[in-house]
Symmetry: C2
Subunit: 351 residues, 2 copies
Amino acid sequence: MVMRVGTIGTGFIVDRFLNALKLLKSQGGSISCEAVYSRSEQNGRALADRHGVARVYTDLEAFMESPEIDFVYVASPNGLHFMHSRMALLHGKHVICEKSFTSNGREARELTSLAAEKQLFLFEAIITLHMPNYIWIQENINKLGRMRLFQGNFSKYSTRYDDYKAGKNPNIFNPDFSGGALMDLNVYNIEAALGLFGKPESVHYFCNKADNGIDLSGTVILTYPDFLCECTAAKDCNANQFVSIHGEDGSFYSPYAPSFFTDVRAEINGRDSVTVNGQLMDQPMYYELEWFLKLFERGDLAECQRWYDMIHLVMDVMDEARRSAGIIFAADCKAQQPLCGKGEFEDGPSE
Amino acid sequence: MVMRVGTIGTGFIVDRFLNALKLLKSQGGSISCEAVYSRSEQNGRALADRHGVARVYTDLEAFMESPEIDFVYVASPNGLHFMHSRMALLHGKHVICEKSFTSNGREARELTSLAAEKQLFLFEAIITLHMPNYIWIQENINKLGRMRLFQGNFSKYSTRYDDYKAGKNPNIFNPDFSGGALMDLNVYNIEAALGLFGKPESVHYFCNKADNGIDLSGTVILTYPDFLCECTAAKDCNANQFVSIHGEDGSFYSPYAPSFFTDVRAEINGRDSVTVNGQLMDQPMYYELEWFLKLFERGDLAECQRWYDMIHLVMDVMDEARRSAGIIFAADCKAQQPLCGKGEFEDGPSE
């Protein structure tokens, strides 16, 4: 059974997704992209042409009803993930939704319940958790002895921040679209930490806010009974990106962004360090997509649903972080999202 | 006028101090070490022999009364800094006291008042604030634009931690001697941050505690109106040491411990980075000692006293950090320290 995908959004992440899809297909994977949706015919056509996709939709309802796709890949701004995913599920489509999954835990639970009820696949696209180096860390974390510190820094000055300062109100710095450093970048640190250590005892977020109340940069502290995780991200400055995981007996260190876990240097009991790298770096979305396809081919809905615990945990931790810092999204105030809409969002990248 | 010093303690830091003293002397500085004090004749003699010091005292009272010294260098365990410094001041001696200066802010104020009253020099020996690279950063911090993040990590697995785990109760892991990661290592991050940015809006400490309530590792978050400082230190694991200072327009980064600010890489507006290094690394205590001697030669008590604001601020921030984490030292419970004592402490390094 071929996994026939249609995409929402035209940001750089959709290009990455389609490149990963092509790689998987070239290796014999039964996967194809059959349609793209964009509000803009021009942007949609350009995306489709770049990747040889047959159909371009500019009408969201028509896209959702299209018979040639069974999977919708949602890469709209964070604040629209819920609406687009819900709409797809209600139209009987499986869903792959980008990070951050939804605006809050309530929305996440509503989506996972709906998918379970309708017996549809619902995947969160978070590259980190499916990267071979990250899985290697999960499997070897016990070698570090008693855990002490996890530090991750994903700081990158955003060109959209210049737009924000110029008064252009880009989505990624807009609380109406659930933007900010936590949702956009720190989510990678948080998913990495939670995927290793599970539910923390406490969550605190210290952040630098823009005038509109959105977080530009900051640190989430997760506490566990005898160790800490410090998750830092910034969109208002460049900083050295890294992940550093330390136990009493050794450490794992990657001098790159916490989304990738590239070139993990492992050192146990002060012995010479070994660098672990068993993954492609030019196609970081390959691994998650390969995993989604595998579950789909096996028809393994039960395994898909086991991942919902992780999705709920991540969104609950993000909610608690925002609560501690007083960050409120428009989505938090809505009891119910509209089923449909004209897709009032930019097609731009969620970065 | 020669600065005639007598030392208390026989840890590695005293060797460093005496090496810096010799270097300063070899360059024409009017400074000499005339006596060492140790509870152990053997340890004191070994130290004196290594550095060609004439006198060894094992009686603290006799040492304090010795006519051949006018400066006491206090390098005993943290919890005894106050007692030894106070005793020296009461004996009419000037004082150079190691970091952390005292156990708490109350003790610090009592010492600085006493020194002011008696018109004696009282210096805190904190290498960071006197390092040329650090002073360069202070002078150039405005080039980074609006400040966003300061991150420092001084994590180093302590061999004394093995002793602690073996039940040996070393000073540095003992609340009776004001030990722990905050007082021993994180103080370098905190002094560096406070020396750049002054008094923070809030102080929070998240830490991993030993069974005796001491902090083994942790992170202090200092918040300012629109930026954060994250100060991390550990004695229970090795981690990558660094200091990372980020504004909207650029960054300063040192891939070494925050005591030294070695090889500071400066990058402004994404332009090619420049590495700043204008300091000796084999003699890190040289710079503070040179500064102390300069003030002493000038008889500049007013300048010495201007530094008390910094000392008070640092100890107040450390107090607030401990309060937020529930760390209490024996010294916090004493209304008044004893004037004198047999010096019930190990001569070992404060690390």
